[in-house]
């Protein structure tokens, strides 16, 4: 198990692990709502509901019961998004909008990469966009005024 932490862009975290089962088996656990509900759950954060439509552009959503963890004042967690890459059993990526983010409309991206290995699968999960804002990215190509718009939006909300 290794968690490499933040890249130089302060923007993504990468976690990797070996699992002693073939990629097909791991991919099923990543896309089957019944299985997701089981392994995504923890005593601190019991999963109440996990839904996923496992195909490109398919939506997913999960929510938890009130647990013992509080993030940004939130203790019942809800997260949703849609699948942006679906290549079984190698790649699964989805957008990740979470109610415990400072800005729950912030687009972040979770990408799973599975590589067959002797005795199993190398699993790599990358969560990116953690310091990013969609408007800022768009504005980078369009110049400064949009950034001011974004700042204005922050201030006025």
């Amino acid at each position: 198990m290794s968690t490499k932490g933040v890249t130089p862009e302060h923007d993504e975290i990468v976690s990797e692990m070996h699992i002693a089962a073939p990629p097909e088996r791991v991919f099923k656990a990543l896309t089957d709502p019944g299985e997701l509900k089981q392994w995504f759950s923890s005593p601190d954060c019991p999963v109440k509901m996990w839904e996923m439509d496992p195909r490109l552009d398919g939506a997913y959503r999960y929510s938890t019961e009130k647990g013992s963890i509080i993030v940004n004042g939130v203790s019942e967690f809800e997260c949703h998004g849609h699948i942006t890459e679906f290549d079984p059993p190698r790649v699964l990526a989805y957008t990740w909008y979470a109610n415990w983010h400072d800005d729950s409309t912030r687009r972040t991206l979770v990408r799973w990469e599975l590589t067959a290995q002797e005795q199993g699968t190398h699993v790599k999960v990358t969560h990116s966009g953690l310091s990013n804002l969609p408007i800022a990215r768009k504005d980078y190509s369009g110049g400064w005024p949009g950034v001011v718009e974004m700042l204005k939006k922050f201030i006025e909300q």
């Binding site: 968690t3 923007d11 791991v26 392994w39 969560h127 953690l130 922050f154």
Partner: protein, 129 residues
């Protein structure tokens, strides 16, 4: 409108303005540059292929987010890195480090147990037939 944004920026929550400042690749590159030491605005501008006014605006935003400090040395405005606000960002990202590490542990335990159970079931099935 820009000036109004400047006046009201104090009302923006600290971490949001930090994220916003970090969301731009040029501004991140400016911070990386200042890690090597304080620099006058002119020197910072010459390190980037964008216009001088554009760099000034980036620096202003970084200053508003308290990621850089500015002081005058003669005719120069000198910029210095202030990494303090990055702590708030780091503690936020830290939650995800823990989250994915523990999720991967759960996934591993679940898949390996299921896989072993399925293999065992298949083995028994083969024996029977």
């Amino acid at each position: 409108m820009r000036e109004r944004s400047v006046t009201h920026s104090a009302a923006t929550p600290g971490r949001e303005i930090t994220f916003q400042a970090l969301a731009d690749p040029t501004r991140r590159a400016v911070l990386d540059l200042l890690r090597r030491g304080s620099q006058p605005a002119g020197q910072i501008a010459s390190a980037f292929p964008v216009s001088r006014p554009a760099i000034s605006k980036h620096l202003r935003l970084l200053r508003r987010a308290h990621l850089v400090r500015e002081h005058r040395e003669g005719r120069h405005r000198v910029y210095q890195l202030n990494p303090e606000p990055l702590r708030a960002v780091d503690s936020w990202i830290e939650q995800y480090r823990v989250f994915w590490a523990s999720s991967l542990n759960n996934l591993k335990a679940f898949v390996e147990a299921e896989h072993a159970r399925e293999r065992e079931a298949a083995r028994k099935q083969r024996k029977k037939s």
